[in-house]
Amino acid sequence: MAQNSTTLLTPAAWTAFGIAATVLVLVVPVLNLALPATSALHVPDYMIALMGKFLCYAMVALAIDLIWGFTGILSLGHGMFFALGGYAMGMYLMREIAGEGVYRSQLPDFMVFLDWKELPWYWHGFEHFWFAMLMVILAPGVFALVFGFFAFRSRIKGVYFSIITQAMTYAAMLLFFRNNTGFGGNNGLTDFKHILGFSLLESRTKVGLYAASALALAGTFLLCRFVTASKLGRVLTAIRDAESRVMFSGYDPLRYKLFVWTLSAVLCGIAGALYVPQVGIINPSEMHPGNSIEMAIWAAVGGRGTLVGPIIGAWLVNGAKSVFTVAFPDLWLYFLGAIFIATTLFLPDGVVGLGRLLSCRKKGRNRDRS
């Protein structure tokens, strides 16, 4: 699995990380902004938007790797945390355009449409960016903490936990679908215009958001690496492999699980918050149970417990989705289904595991020859 050294990264890994981060954070934006559209190296705007999305997905995959790959808990409800973060950001963006909506009202358009006279209490404060950012962390974090406490305390684990989290996101989806819940119902929150005064239509803002996502992903990766390489990470892996033994050795798995579960939810929420201004909409279908399962497969495709793998997996699966849904829309579900089946049957360690396997074989063959 992952490197077992307790240092953050080996020098070689640092170099690779540095190159990847520079390309994503600096080179791609420069290629987009500085080069003319006719240049062969120019990165078009739609590519920026697409890659920005993928970066957010990669963060989600990392968060899932933390909880599933390292701790052995499969959550089928991470779509909800993603959406919670997204909704917090969406609420800020809605408040930001108060007075500029179709109805020129201080209230968001959908509230005018529902004939609401004043802002519900839980919308207060979202006009401040700092408050919204706080909520991006607190909303998924506190919810995960409470939910996780009750779930882990009664030692719900394995498929039971997966099912319960699936029910959780399903229930949240139903709740957000209601108009009366106050989050725009079916349509969700949309028609955003600017963020912190920058117009969302301008390509500079888009590139800025993209670069923020890339930075966030780099930060998340280092954080996850830090957590998993620490002693805490060792306990998590032990919980994954033999929870009872961890318990009998005097550790309380509840605290460790709760920590990593909450951390994972918060990372997901941040990813959602970065995702929303880039795609311009957040609605309850993000919480559909199917979405959350797809998130899990990103991590599985790349390789669980590797941190690098899930990032690759998220890009591979979503890249394939972008290509397939345009070229062969009828075949996409077949392909996705095949990914699910093939990964679980033949690639338990994902693409990264495959790479390792191949390089080991090569080495073995070379050794045989010499």
């Binding site: 009664s154 498929v159 039971y160 319960i164 029910a167 959780m168 289904g337 699910f340 089946i341 679980t344």
Partner: protein, 546 residues
């Protein structure tokens, strides 16, 4: 059952004999009145027209149906000399409405009587009250319904007369209500009190708004509304109606809860068995429901194209076929995919999800993304009214009966057959069972087939109460997982209690919180519940530390 029909038949016969025959027994002055009234229908004065209608309603002479029908169709015309002429439907010939003699004058010279909406309302009221004299109780019932929808003062006399002669209970109660509705506005205090009492006794909650209006004394122009007795009586009637309404609603929720619980049980039964045996949550289980439903659809199409005379028999034919098809699909999946994932339950979860995506897309490509129509066979459509306001539909009763049948069959299979013995043994202690010489992998395959087959049966049942589309299974998957979580695994009773419990809770919560909040509350309850009993309602007693 047979005795009941016989009694009903006898009653209907008595009713036939007792019907008045006004045409034969009519004496001279009445016949005169009739002729005058029919002629008055062609009057060019609207007041005269209305008066004639009233007379016809009072006479209740069935002969008046032809001229009234013609009047409603704009085929009754005046010849200008006080005769009413009925023009035939093709407009070629005409006859005198009273004598029936052929009219020989030019058809173009006939003029139309001044029929407006008010007159039309009265015409249909009189036609209905005439139809009340029909010998066919169904026709009388239809007429009574028509009248109950539009209680017009002018129909009062006809109603009273019909009520006195009426023998059919359904028609009788309808007529009484219509009368009461008319009397509720009557200027006579006694009549109004009687009307309120009749409404209170009828138990028909449709009257609640009208009664509440009386209690609130909103209509200031009506002097009698100020009367204390009437308000008091109305209040009493309102509370009795409301009490009855509550009871009916509770009964209805019970029925719908039972039928929803049955649906959930059919969806979750197979899941619980496979989960209990193999520790494998089959995410493609919902798609087995979907395949079962589509088998029913295909069989229905086959029957209606090859044996149109036996089209209704598609359902009995679909039941074994759906079981066979889904069981085969389930066994195939077990052999090719799931077998390789034992001991890795989380991976199985993902793999079976992938399978479900493939199955959904396959069905979508074959049958299209739209819902397909599966008809209720004649013996499952409609329903009967147990008490007013509580209609039990045959398809839901059918599902409840079917689920009892399936559960009984499953119980027999698990407890009275060698396969069932092996299944139970492997469920309780896989390695011990293997050591005793049970081929656990074969048992796994058969169990998976059994679980999928039961889901297929559930799918056939679902076609009778809901839409059939490629996403059918997805909408039941979360609910059926909840049933398994709630009921625990390895025990049939747990699944039954879990499913029925969820069904009842859902239906009883719905009126208070709405369908969506109800569902959320249920999910929260399930999470809270497994805090107390992580193994479900009925846990298998074992020695595992997990």
């Amino acid at each position: 059952m047979i005795r009941l029909t016989r009694i009903l038949f006898a009653l209907a016969l008595v009713g036939l004999l007792r019907l008045p025959a006004p045409a034969l027994a009519a004496d001279a002055p009445e016949a005169d009145d009739y002729a005058k009234a029919v002629a008055g229908l062609a009057s060019d004065n609207r007041q005269d027209l209305l008066a004639s209608l009233e007379t016809l309603a009072r006479l209740a002479d069935p002969r008046a149906q032809a001229p009234l029908g013609a009047l409603a169709d704009r085929r009754l015309k005046s010849d200008g000399a006080g005769h009413a002429i009925i023009v035939s439907k093709d407009g070629a010939t005409a006859v005198d409405a009273v004598t029936g003699e052929n009219y020989t004058g030019p058809l173009g010279a006939l003029s139309d009587p001044p029929v407006n909406n008010l007159v039309r309302q009265h015409i249909s009221a009189v036609i209905s009250s005439l139809a009340l004299a029909s010998p066919d109780p169904e026709q009388r019932l239809a007429a009574a319904r028509e009248l109950a929808d539009r209680p017009v003062e002018s129909a009062r006399a006809g109603l009273k007369k019909a009520l006195a002669a009426e023998t059919d209970d359904r028609v009788k109660s309808l007529l009484e209500q219509t009368l009461a509705q008319i009397d509720l506005k009557s200027p006579d205090k006694a009549a109004r009190l009687a009307a309120i009492k009749a409404i209170g006794d009828s138990g028909n909650s449709d009257f609640l708004p009208a009664l509440r209006q009386v209690v609130d004394r909103q209509d200031k122009s009506d002097l009698l509304n100020a009367d204390g007795d009437i308000a008091e009586a109305a209040a009493r009637a309102v509370s009795s109606l409301e009490r009855r309404d509550l009871a009916v609603r509770a009964a209805r929720d019970f029925f719908f809860g039972a039928s929803l619980g049955s649906v959930l049980l059919l969806a979750a039964l197979g899941l619980a068995i496979t989960f209990g045996l193999m520790g494998v949550i089959n995410m493609a289980h919902g798609e087995m429901l979907m395949i079962g439903a589509y088998v029913a659809y295909v069989v229905q199409e086959f029957f209606s194209s090859h044996f149109p005379n036996f089209a209704d028999w598609y359902l009995p034919a679909a039941i074994p076929l759906a079981f066979a098809v889904t069981a085969a699909v389930g066994m195939l999946l077990e052999r090719t995919i799931i077998r390789h994932l034992y001991g890795r339950p989380l991976e199985t979860l993902l793999a079976t999800w992938g399978i479900s995506l493939v199955l959904i897309q396959t069905v979508r490509l074959i049958f299209g993304a739209q819902n397909v129509e599966v008809r209720n066979p004649a013996f499952l459509s409609g329903g009967f009214e147990l008490v007013r306001g509580l209609t039990l539909t045959y398809n839901r009763i059918g599902i409840i009966v079917f689920v009892i049948f399936v559960v009984a069959l499953t119980w027999l299979l698990l407890n009275r057959t060698p396969l069932g013995l092996s299944i139970r043994a492997v469920t309780q202690a896989r390695s011990t069972a293997a050591a005793m010489g049970i081929f656990t992998s074969k048992v796994d395959m058969w169990t998976f087939g059994l679980g999928s087959g039961i889901a297929g049966l559930g799918g056939v049942a679902l076609t009778q109460v809901g839409n059939v589309g490629p996403e059918l299974g997805q909408s039941y998957i979360v609910d059926s997982f909840m049933v398994v979580v709630l009921g625990g695994v390895g025990k049939l009773a747990g699944t039954i209690f879990g499913a029925l419990g969820l069904g009842f809770i859902n239906k009883y919560l719905e009126p208070f919180s709405g369908a969506v909040l109800g569902k959320i509350i249920v999910l929260v309850l399930v999470v809270v519940f497994i805090q107390k009993r992580p193994q479900g309602i009925f846990a298998l007693k074992g020695r595992t530390a997990e």
